[in-house]
């Protein structure tokens, strides 16, 4: 194997690892997201007995 061939091979392995890592991170993020809960908080304060606000 030529030096160039070795470098190319290493690059290919590195690239494959990167893809695998990326895929693995993405999968984990998706897994995490799947565990996220979507909840709506509705809030206000100081109604002060008003049925309709003044004005």
């Amino acid at each position: 194997m030529t030096k160039r061939g070795i470098i190319t091979g290493l690059a290919a392995v590195a690239a494959l690892c990167a893809v695998a890592t990326f895929t693995s991170h993405s999968a984990r993020a998706e897994d995490d997201k799947a565990g996220w809960k979507d909840i709506t908080l509705v809030y206000h304060s100081d109604v002060k007995g008003k049925i309709d606000p003044c004005g």
């Binding site: 709506t40 007995g49 008003k50």
Partner: protein, 386 residues
């Protein structure tokens, strides 16, 4: 209120998991009319299904019995960790745990000790409000044992809420109460998301939360506040309920007033108000201005009785006379027991310089056995001598 009902209808149609909270001061001003209206508000609010309501000082305006009755009758979940009675017992539950969308939320509220609790039932001396920071530092670890996400309903105002969440760790979300402000976007202080939406029901806030299921941590939030302006249509059913209630309230007010009709005097005469007398009768005016008569309406304000005919008849001028005191201009200038309360219409005096010869006879109209059992003309005259 009818627009708020529309808001909830639309929200529920989305089929989302919804947690609904109020930052406190749900109840009205310290008057009987407002108490009447507050009861209706509580009944209608029950339809919105609140999960937690922070206790504000207004919420004790009608006393503890009223508060507890509203909580029970309309399922209103008030909570407060730092308001106790003098026996040390909490007035409402210390905190609440609500499961929503697979997450257990801990809802806790604290009241600013600087806010004065005054009640129509004379119970104000009955309450002790503990330091919010110390209270939360003690209670939050206990809530954490039962809940994943902690929501503070801080009835503390804007600045104090910020101070408190900087000093207390473990609050995921803080909703500001005792505020005039409507925050159109969230603020993040340390690890706490700060939200706020007041005032008098003009706005409502909605925060779509993305919560990590494993530990309840809020990973992202999207806030939108709604202004209940004309763009939001009324919910017809709620609008009808409100219209019926307003009629009921008017009847309630009229029934109270009918016991004190404007039966005396003449439509042709007018009360000119105390400042008119001052020009010619400065000495007499000074005596009046330093007397309890000049403070008569202020005592009603303190007691939340400014719409009580029974009280107004003696704490204002001409309440039962034509053109006498009324809660609208120009008659609302006739607060206190002014010169004309004893001496009669200023217009009569203005025409011929005469006034009621026997002004002293008018004292007993109010200084009667019930209101003034120790009344003695000679002694009391010294207090207003002019």
């Amino acid at each position: 209120m009818a627009r708020r009902a529309t808001f909830f209808d639309n929200l529920w149609a989305e089929n989302r998991a919804v947690l609904t909270v109020d930052g406190g001061d749900l109840f009205g001003q310290r008057t009987r009319d407002d108490e009447h209206q507050t009861e209706f508000l509580c009944e209608a609010t029950a339809d919105f299904g609140y999960d937690g309501i922070g206790l504000g000082e207004f919420d004790l305006n009608y006393g503890e019995e009223f508060l507890h009755r509203m909580m029970e009758q309309y399922h209103l979940p008030f909570t407060s960790a730092n308001v106790r009675d003098t026996t040390g017992a909490l007035v409402v539950p210390e905190f609440l745990v609500v499961e929503r969308g697979g997450i257990r939320f801990g809802l806790v509220s604290v009241l600013d000790p600087a806010q004065r609790i005054m009640t129509l039932t004379g119970e104000e001396g009955r309450y002790v409000v503990a330091d919010p920071v110390q209270t939360l530092r003690e209670v939050i670890p206990r809530i954490r044992q039962q809940a994943q996400t902690i929501v503070l309903l801080g009835h503390l105002g804007d600045t104090t809420t910020e101070t408190v969440i900087r000093e207390v760790k473990g609050i995921d979300i803080a909703v500001i109460g005792h505020t005039f402000r409507n925050l159109t976007a969230e603020r993040v202080i340390d690890d706490t998301i700060l939200l706020g939406s007041g005032y008098e029901g003009r706005f409502i806030g909605r925060a779509d939360l993305f919560v990590r299921g494993t530990d309840g941590k809020v990973m992202a939030v999207q806030v939108k506040t709604t202004d209940f302006d004309d763009k939001i249509p009324d919910n017809p059913e709620m609008a009808e309920k409100i219209a019926a209630y307003k009629k009921d309230l008017q009847e309630f007010k009229e029934a109270k007033r009918s016991a004190y009709p404007r039966a005396f005097g003449s439509e042709k005469e007018e009360f000119l108000a105390d400042r008119s007398c001052m020009g010619c009768h400065r000495e007499a005016w000074d005596a009046y201005a330093s007397s309890a008569h000049y403070q008569a309406f202020g005592t009603l304000r303190k007691q939340g009785q400014t719409d009580e005919p029974e009280c107004l008849s003696c704490h204002t001028t001409g309440y039962q006379y034509k053109n006498g005191y009324a809660d609208e201009a120009p008659f609302n200038r006739l607060i206190n027991v002014q010169c004309e309360a004893c001496h009669g219409y200023g217009t009569e005096h203005d025409r011929g310089g005469a006034w009621k010869a026997q002004a002293k006879d008018s004292c007993v109209a109010c200084h009667d056995q019930k209101n003034s059992p120790n009344f003695d003309y000679a002694t009391y005259w010294e207090k207003i001598k002019h």
